[in-house]
């Protein structure tokens, strides 16, 4: 039998019926809802609506249990409770989508020295995922004509794509696109050389 304590003044025990030996004959199966903190420690919220009542959970490990009687009981789990009950479920969560930005030398499809180093970090991140889907989007600054920048941005994205395929990623899982000078990271006038705009965005899912 598993007990979830910390239920405030009443000192009620939340008993998770999954592990409860006593037979239950209520109309519904016990249901449990809980909010988990993110890796960065942020806590979101969910709202549980059942049998005409509505309960918001907005604290880390905050929980609502719907008992077989249909009654909703609020409580709090511990990190250990969650690990014990949801360990294999949480382990199956796919990797969080990630995004990286790499910068290029002016007018070229060659990465800056710093970004060449950063690329190694990107590859390490990619290697951690069993089946990554990657979208590489190339951008330019406003130096040069629109059509020239469209071509250059695609060339930058394609260059990265080739490197990834060379590193062993399946070609069909890596898409490349060029956005020219349409999505400036730093807004500028036309014909302004801006290193932060000469970039590719790598989105990994």
């Amino acid at each position: 039998m598993k007990r979830f304590t910390g239920l405030g003044a009443a000192g009620v025990l939340l008993i998770l019926a999954a592990a409860c030996a006593a037979p239950k004959t209520g109309p519904v199966a016990p249901e449990l809802f809980a909010v988990l903190p993110s890796k960065e420690g942020k806590v979101g919220s969910i709202v549980v609506n059942s049998a005409g009542s509505s309960r918001v959970i907005d604290t880390a490990y905050g929980a609502q249990l719907i008992q077989p009687s249909g009654e909703m009981v609020g409580g709090k789990l511990t990190e250990a409770d969650v690990r014990a009950s949801f360990g294999s479920t949480l382990q199956a969560l796919p990797g969080r989508p990630a995004s990286f930005i790499l910068y290029f030398l002016e007018g070229k499809d060659e990465l800056t020295v710093e970004s060449k180093k950063e690329l190694e970090r990107v590859f390490i991140e990619l290697a951690r995922r069993p089946l990554p889907d990657i979208v590489v989007i190339g951008h330019t600054d406003t130096v040069g004509s629109g059509p020239f920048n469209d071509k250059l941005s695609l060339q930058r994205a394609e260059r990265l794509r080739e490197m990834m395929v060379f590193m062993g990623l399946a070609a069909e899982r890596v898409q490349a696109a060029g956005r020219g000078e349409r999505e400036l990271l730093v807004p500028t006038e036309d014909n302004v050389s801006e290193p932060r705009n000469r970039r590719v965005e790598i989105n990994v899912r």
């Binding site: 037979p23 519904v28 249901e31 809980a34 979101g44 949480l90 382990q91 199956a92 969560l93």
Partner: protein
């Protein structure tokens, strides 16, 4: 009407049929993790779930005692299903330009963990999880749900 224009009309009709078929069975996510026994029921047939498999609206995922599966959806929502679970995707839509969307999943039994994605950031509670006795609206990020089997005497 010439034979040639008939051929063209048939061809065009065929292309439209293909296009609308593609929309009806659009990929809404992809299986990133699959361990143990995991099956998907789609259009009346059941097949084993494999890593890399595309997920579609109306898919019903069932796991065995040793099974678990993780799916990444097109709006970056992440959902994993634990052992002895039945989870169906009842509705799903996502507009990658406006980030508007709708996600309705149903956990009949078992365990689920999820991290909400872009549509919830755009509109809280656009993602909902139904259970046999509740409807849960997602206002943000990470949560778990467990539905036990009813006990009988």
């Amino acid at each position: 009407m010439s034979a040639r224009s008939t051929v063209i009309k048939v061809f065009v009709a065929g292309v439209f049929a293909l296009a609308s078929g593609a929309v009806a069975a659009q990929d809404i996510g992809q299986v990133k993790v699959a361990k143990g026994t995991v099956m998907v029921e789609r259009a009346g047939t059941s097949q084993p779930v494999k890593v890399g498999m595309a997920i579609k609206t109306s898919d019903k995922i069932t796991t065995g005692a040793d099974g678990s599966a993780g799916i990444t959806f097109t709006d970056n929502s992440l959902v994993s299903v634990g052992p002895n679970s039945v989870f169906s995707i009842e509705k799903y839509s996502f507009d990658s330009t406006t980030h508007a969307g709708e996600f309705e999943g149903s956990l009949k039994k078992g365990k689920l963990a999820a991290v909400s994605g872009k549509m919830v950031k755009q509109a809280p509670e656009s993602m909902k999880i139904r259970t046999p006795s509740a409807v849960m609206g997602v206002r943000g990020t990470e949560f778990v749900v467990q539905v036990d089997e009813p006990k009988s005497n």
